[in-house]
């Protein structure tokens, strides 16, 4: 659905996006993850034919950006960062305006407006002036506008920024639902968001993709084995050794007296064995917490590396 080859963008000799290549199949929900200034917005602006790339090739839904940027725009629904809207317009006026400029056939305009208003849950505010709406509603009005022409591809730039937790949950649900019949590309620097919403994640740093994969796969691939945080009362010096002897456990470290981190193989679950061991030895088990490395850790590791390491990583990803 989205094909990108050697995409690059240089602003005044400063490369912002470097040699990006990727393919997104139809129906995938893909997350762009990266620190501010990593080039996420620039990539999205090129995919929506807002910015012309310096180098490379972009094909969205079968349309080549170089050949027909206007046709490419027809296939894409775009929600820019910070959801720009016209505050003086009423919601319905805005949706009609979007329908007109997005070439929705005249006879279908009414139906499309009703449809997107229902999907984005803005039915109650359709007569309201956009400037008087809360941030959450504005976000959904922006999404409704991006959906009005039923584009096969949706590109959402930080769709949940500035929302309160309830609103974030609603917008995420909406995106998940949209993912059923659209190819969705969204950017964010909120990590739990990609874990919840996306099937696939790109981590972008300094204009390059430094990691590409399913959130789970990325976690294990880059962070290593899952671990348990174990706190034992009354354990003596042999505890480390005893824990290490349990099936599936690959490493044990004692962080402070009585507090252990037990690394285990991804397919093993030694929690029962740890409990059994504690009972057998007469130790009191104070805590037994699965410690999943979060994408946060992956993110921090990947985006705080040295320039050269980042380059190597990007290399690896592009070869894979």
């Amino acid at each position: 659905m989205i094909e990108v080859e050697n995409l690059g963008k240089t602003y005044v000799k400063e490369p912002v996006v470097r040699d990006l290549s990727f393919f997104v199949p139809e129906g995938q929900v893909l997350g762009f993850l990266g620190p501010n200034g990593a080039g996420k917005t620039t990539v999205m602006r090129m995919l929506t034919a807002f910015l012309p790339p310096t180098t490379g090739r972009v094909v969205v839904a079968g349309v080549d950006l170089d050949e027909d940027p206007v046709a490419l725009r027809r296939n894409v629904g775009y929600l820019p960062e910070n959801v720009p809207l016209y505050p003086e317009m009423r919601v319905d006026e805005y949706l009609r305006f979007r329908a007109d400029i997005e070439e929705v056939p005249r006879a279908e305009v009414r139906d499309r407006m009703d449809d997107v208003a229902e999907r984005c849950m803005i039915g109650d505010v359709r007569r309201q002036v956009i400037g008087t709406l809360s941030k959450g509603f504005r976000q959904r009005v922006g999404l409704a506008g991006a959906l009005i022409h039923q584009p096969p591809v949706l590109i959402l730039d930080e769709p949940t920024v500035g929302l309160d937790p309830n609103q974030i949950i609603r917008v995420r649900e909406l995106i998940t639902e949209l993912g059923r019949d659209h190819t969705v590309l969204l950017s964010t620097h909120i990590l739990p968001e990609v874990e919840q919403v996306c099937e696939r994640v790109f981590i972008i740093d300094r204009g390059r993709i430094v990691a590409d994969g399913a959130p789970d796969a990325l976690r294990t691939q880059l962070i290593g084995n899952p671990a348990l945080a174990v706190e034992l009362k009354g354990a003596d010096g042999v505890a480390t050794e005893a824990l290490l002897g349990l099936p599936g456990v690959v490493a044990v470290s004692e962080r402070e007296p009585g507090h252990f981190v037990v690394e285990h193989a991804p397919d093993a679950d030694p929690r029962e064995a740890v409990f059994g061991l504690a009972v057998e030895r007469g130790w009191v088990l104070m805590a037994l917490i699965p410690h999943r490395a979060s994408l946060e850790d992956v993110f921090v590791r990947l985006t705080t590396r040295e320039e050269t390491v980042a380059e190597e990583l990007a290399e690896e990803v592009s070869h894979a």
Partner: protein
Amino acid sequence: MRKTWAIVRRELIAYFSSPLAYVVLAAFLLMQGYIFYLLVSFLNNPQTQAMTPLRLFFGGTIFFWLFLLFVVPVITMRLIAEERRSGTIEVLLTSPVTEAQVVVGKFAAAMLFYIALWLPTVLYVLVLMRHSEIDLGPVLAGYVGVLLLGFLFLAVGTFASTLTDNQLIAAIIAFAVMVALFSIGLVEQLIMSSGLKAVLGHMNLWTQMDDFAKGIVDTRHVVYQLSFGALFLFLAAKSLEVKKWR
């Protein structure tokens, strides 16, 4: 066409939902009404030379120009500068709309607002018609002149609005370019070289407007104002394209 019209409609909603439009309309009418009153009472004095008030009304006095030079930047400053500031330009230019359609739509909306501004002055003509004979030819020509000047100046303003995301700066640029276009003709008197003098003479907007007010629709004036207006609209579309490449 439908897309351009959608932009025109949206722009008109924006005009009439902001207090600025009403302030401009009210101030414009107040000023024009006052000038009209002054002209009529001035010409009522038997000692003044015979002239029709409407001829003076259309560009015959500095008031006309002062107000035009101030009002046009206020009408056009928001057009594209505000889209850039708020980021809505991104929505506009990622829909299947071309830069030219954006510029034409915005400009057309400004032109409609400008026409709405002048519409009530038709009442002055009606008032005069009740009390004296009016030669409608020059009056119509005067309105043609007003429209053509509006075309040129609003095109300048539209162009200025593409250059920045700050409305105030857009207004100042528009004002400066319009003053330059306006005064280029006034410089005529200071020039000795006859060739240059002739060129500048043709560019003198004051005498052009005066011709219209006299009832002379000179095609040279029409061509001058339309072609310069079109040039600025073209530049506006190009500037919008170039801004993206930066």
